[in-house]
């Protein structure tokens, strides 16, 4: 759907986006994560054509002779509307611009839970309500590409859940999704690919598993033993003495091991399964991976 090759954007001497390669195909979802000022928003503006790239090639697949904007749904980081208009008027205005059917407005208003306040002026809306209205306008006209800049800020947990459900639906229908977020634990498992940006450059991109492999961060294994029982892992400890950092803590043992050791360690543990109540395997989370790739060097 979109393809960026070596796209850069500089303002004067300051390079905000530096040689970014990125492609999002139909039905794929990609999350862009990074510190504030890492270039996430500029990246979105580049794709939207709001700023022109200083160098590089940017391709958006659209039907010939059609304005690419009619296939894009965008939710800005902070969304504003004309305060004097009612929520419904706002949505109908955007629907007309996008040539979306009128009944879609009613559907979307209901979906984001704004039906009761559809006829209230937008200036009386709370931040969460504005965000929901912003979400509704992004989904007008069944976009083929969704660009969402920190979409879940101001949404309550229920709506967040709802929001990701809708994203899944869109994705299933072939919509490409590019989402920027700070809520790492939230997007984990809900997106296909992650792109980590730092100072305008792509630090790494790939699936979560690819990132884990590259980071070589330890997997954590927690074993909860039955009362009064012990775990014995003599042979394993000699092999990799650093693997076990866990002390017996209320009958819980923690292990850290590299990906390739997991199976081996699990064998040691499972051999004593009569003593074990529960086993938890915790792979490195996106937070850990992010901290690994970005945070280990100095935070700006």
């Amino acid at each position: 759907m979109i393809k960026l090759s070596k796209v850069s954007k500089s303002y004067g001497k300051k390079t905000v986006v530096n040689q970014v390669d990125l492609s999002v195909s139909a039905g794929e979802s990609v999350a862009v994560i990074g510190h504030n000022g890492a270039g996430k928003t500029t990246l979105m503006k580049l794709i939207l054509g709001l700023v022109r790239p200083s160098s590089g090639v940017l391709d958006i697949a659209t039907e010939q002779g059609k304005d690419p904007h009619s296939d894009i749904g965008f939710l800005p980081e902070t969304v504003f509307f004309q305060g004097e208009m009612t929520g419904r008027q706002v949505l109908e205005f955007y629907a007309k611009l996008k040539q979306a059917p009128r009944h879609q407005c009613t559907e979307l208003m209901a979906w984001v839970g704004l039906n009761d306040s559809a006829n209230a002026r937008v200036k009386t809306y709370s931040k969460g309500m504005r965000q929901r209205l912003g979400l509704a306008q992004a989904l007008l006209g069944k976009p083929k590409l969704l660009l969402l800049d920190e979409p879940t800020t101001g949404l309550d947990p229920f709506l967040r859940h709802h929001f990701y459900q809708i994203l899944r639906n869109c994705q299933a229908k072939g919509t490409a999704i590019l989402i920027s977020s700070h809520a790492l634990s939230e997007i984990e498992g809900k997106i296909d690919k992650v792109l980590i940006m730092k100072q305008g450059q792509v630090v790494i991109q790939g699936t979560l598993d690819q990132l884990r492999e590259a980071a070589k961060l330890p997997t954590q294994i927690r074993v909860i033993v039955l009362p009064g029982k012990e775990l014995i892992f003599k042979g394993f400890q000699q092999q990799s003495p650093h693997a076990i950092n866990g002390e017996d803590h209320f009958g819980t043992f923690s292990f850290q091991c590299q990906q390739h050791q997991t199976v081996e360690l699990m064998n040691v543990i499972m051999a004593q399964q009569a003593n074990i109540k529960d086993v938890q395997i915790i792979p490195p989370r996106l937070d850990d991976l992010y901290a690994h790739f970005v945070g280990k060097e100095s935070h700006p």
């Binding site: 904007h69 205005f93 611009l97 040539q99």
Partner: protein
Amino acid sequence: MNAIATIVQAEFQRSIRNRWALASVILLASLAFSLVVLGSTPIGDSRASLMSITTVSLSSLSLYLIPLVALTISFDAIVGEQEQGTLLLLLTYPISRWQIILGKFLGHLAVLLLAILLGYGSAGLYLVRLESSTISDWISYAQMMGSSLLLGAVFISLGCLISLLSKVRASAIGAAVGAWLFLLVLYDLILLGLILADKEQQLLPIVFDALVLINPADAYRLYNLAGSEAASMVSGVASLTDSVSANGLLGLMCIWIVLLLSSAMYLFSRKEL
């Protein structure tokens, strides 16, 4: 085409909602009615009809007021949305930037049209009830209304351009007031000063003519004076209007509209957000 109509409609509705349209109507109506009332009080002896007196006096006040109203509606067009934060989202919709400018221009023009029709029109109808008027009186009154709209259109385009060039609303207000002051007050003073300074008459009269004509406000003034009986009383102006026809003056204003709007469209298309 649809997209432009959507913007026109939105702009028009916005000025209805924020009472701006209402304020303009009331302003122009109260001005027109007060001139009618003033003109109908018998002072001295005039052979001119009440309607032609009103036409002349209304046009000379419109010269100052219409640009002010037009600039006040339009200075906000782009910079207002930018400050409000709605421009970013609008530009991600399938609408070209020139369409946004044109839509805003037409929307503001519609507000001005409404204000002139209701404000001046109602005063005109009231005049008809006061005394019997001739067709030619009516025509010149209508021409005054039409040329006022055209003058307004020039200043709406100017307001759009100012709005585009300003980074914040406050500076757009400043620039709009400055433009109004320059074109309507200072410009003529400067010309007058030039004429006075040029005692040797080194500058050709045609240069002065051109300098007068180039200002759309002066073109409006000439158009309305030329169309009235009072024109002959103002020497100098008459000679100028010999060289340019009344339609030529309207044409000059149209050229300004095209120039200002197209440069606003061009600059907007180059703008990065």
